[in-house]
């Protein structure tokens, strides 16, 4: 287990108390509304915000309650991105990279990192001449040059304009294959794209920790309560229909047709996002429907969400689909747990 902690502290009037274990790799998204203490928790883990309790990393005590030991920030092998890139403004881009290289960049492959973050052409720039996206790429490069064994990212996209977010997210995803990443955000899009695990935070407490697919479809959880509640399916890319721009994605063998501008390489692992409101149910297999994706499913759970609506959790082979139906449909179709039905998926998108 990479990071393990049980800590508490304060940020203004908010008391933050949390314990958890971070998986060895992949992205864990710390998700919750603004002002619930996500950034504070991240800073506590980094050692930038005072707290009580225990923090261990790879069997090394970063902070230990009875022994009262605290490993200072500059001795913790971590990299960090804040909401604003926070580059040292008295140094050039190169100076920023060298700052960390001198201190903890022993044996690091600088060329590869500069290549990966595409900052080669920026090295001699002054920091204030960078765009938000460029600056955050430099900040990511700077974090990676420090050989981090853990990356703590605090809403790193908030100062990055929309067109540049995707490439930065892709970089973070690649990094996460080697280094565990704890990623703070309140954006569901970022969660869907990045998360392997999700930690939900509310009013200073971690309310749930688990795989993203489970967190999304937990009917009592906050994610399913949202109007844009979605489920996520993992699939493998199949063939691409050039004429109709449809990409086949196999989800446990079930073929989904997804509209796409350009073909994905066959065999690529992808995630499909399916909004609960785009899923409807039929007792019999619909014939001659305009809807391309119709799959047999099993009802696992039915819950009213108020305002005349129900959420239905459906098993599609080993994965889970979410459907939002009107309460009247649920009653008239008499949908019961355990039944086999057909799910019509009106829209599925690659994330």
């Amino acid at each position: 287990m990479s990071l393990e902690f049980a800590i508490k502290g304060r940020a203004g009037t908010l008391s933050v108390e949390a314990s958890g274990k971070l998986p060895d790799n992949g992205v864990t998204v710390l998700f919750g509304p603004s002002g619930t203490g996500k950034s504070t928790l991240l800073r506590m883990l980094a050692g930038l915000h005072a707290c009580e309790g225990m923090i261990r990393f790879d069997d090394e005590a970063w902070q230990d309650e009875p022994a009262k030991t605290v490993l200072p920030v500059w001795q913790r092998p971590l990299g960090m991105l804040l909401q604003h890139p926070t580059l040292f403004h008295h140094l050039s881009v190169r100076g920023n990279i060298q700052y960390v290289q001198k201190r903890r960049g022993k044996g690091v492959n600088l060329e590869a990192i500069i290549e990966e973050t595409r900052i080669g052409h920026l090295l001699d720039r002054a920091v204030h001449k960078l765009s938000g996206g460029e600056a955050q790429r430099v900040a990511l490069a700077r974090a990676l040059v420090g050989n981090p064994e853990l990356l703590l990212l605090d809403e790193p996209l908030s100062a990055v304009d929309l067109p540049h977010r995707e490439s930065l997210l892709a970089m973070i995803q690649r990094v996460a294959q080697k280094v565990p990443v704890l990623y703070v955000t309140h954006s569901l899009d970022e969660l869907l794209l990045l998360a392997d695990q999700v930690w939900l935070m509310d009013q200073g407490r971690l309310t749930a920790q688990g795989p993203v697919t489970t967190a999304l479809v937990s009917l009592t959880g906050p994610l399913a309560q949202r109007s844009d509640a979605s489920s996520m399916l993992s699939g493998v890319c199949g063939s691409f229909d050039e004429a109709d721009h449809l990409q086949t994605v196999l989800v446990d063998g079930a073929a989904f047709m997804v509209p796409l501008a350009q073909a994905k390489p066959e065999g690529a692992l992808v995630r499909l996002r399916i909004a609960a409101r785009d899923v409807s149910l039929c007792r019999v297999q619909p014939m001659q429907s305009s809807i391309l994706n119709i799959h047999p499913v099993t009802v696992q759970e039915v819950t009213p969400t108020g305002a005349g609506q129900h959420l239905v959790k459906l098993a599609l082979h080993s994965q889970t689909l979410l459907a939002r139906l009107s309460s009247r449909s649920v009653r008239e179709l008499n949908i019961m747990v355990g039944e086999s039905l057909f799910a019509q998926v009106k829209a599925a998108a690659l994330v």
Partner: protein, 227 residues
């Protein structure tokens, strides 16, 4: 040009200003830090006390310093250790007096510069592996360099211009405590206006050059043209 005695007085002034500024930069760095970045009880009172030299007549300050440094005060037995009768009427005594007298002129710019440092810059430097001393040298000092330059220039110029305090605690021993401003005063007292003119002009031009250089540098810095 200047007489040998006046050159010597000018040289004492410059030595005094140099040593004073050096000491003040060392003293005021931690002081400015705790004042700008911490809140603690009694802070306002200490700040007011340290700012007193801005408003007090220098003779008031000089009087208390004389009591403090003289043979009957703590300066007496500290002076004993150094083989002096007292710290008053000695160069070390002048340095102590100047440090007190010029402190606010060094403290204030440093405090402003340190208050303007961003918390997150310091945090990221720590995350990048820099310990406290390292952070000071690699981040705080370079980012606050304008404040340090202003502090040094103001402290230097102000110590050169010191008169009341040195008159009270310095005496006028040539080569030891006879500084330029006191030498000028003595020329005027003696009716030697020719020498008074020369010395006054040298002090005027030197001070103007220093302040002019400082303001030019500040203007360039704020317009960002040299970055």
């Amino acid at each position: 040009m200047l007489s040998n005695g006046d050159w010597l007085a000018l040289w004492v002034s410059i030595q005094l200003a140099f040593v004073t500024v050096l000491l003040l930069l060392l003293i005021c760095t931690p002081l400015a830090w705790v004042m700008a970045r911490r809140r603690w009880p009694g802070q306002a009172l200490l700040e007011a006390t340290l700012a007193l030299p801005l408003v007090l007549p220098p003779s008031v300050l000089g009087f208390y310093l004389l009591l403090l440094l003289g043979p009957n005060g703590p300066g007496g037995w500290i002076g004993d250790l150094a083989g002096l009768r007292s710290l008053a009427f000695s160069f070390p005594g002048l340095v102590i007096g100047s440090v007190v007298y010029s402190l606010p002129f060094v403290l204030q710019p440093l405090k402003n510069a340190i208050a303007n440092l961003e918390e997150d810059q310091l945090a990221m430097a720590a995350v990048c592996g820099a310990g406290p001393l390292d952070r000071f040298c690699s981040l705080v000092f370079p980012q606050a360099r304008l404040g340090y330059l202003s502090a040094a220039m103001l402290g230097f110029a102000h110590t050169l211009g010191e008169f009341g305090v040195v008159l009270m605690i310095g005496g006028s021993l040539p080569g030891e405590t006879r500084v330029a401003s006191v030498a000028l005063y003595e020329h005027v007292e003696a009716g030697d206006y020719a020498n008074a003119h020369r010395l006054a002009l040298v002090l005027l031009v030197a001070s103007l050059l220093m302040l002019w250089g400082l303001f030019r540098w500040q203007r360039q810095r704020t317009s960002g043209s040299w970055l």
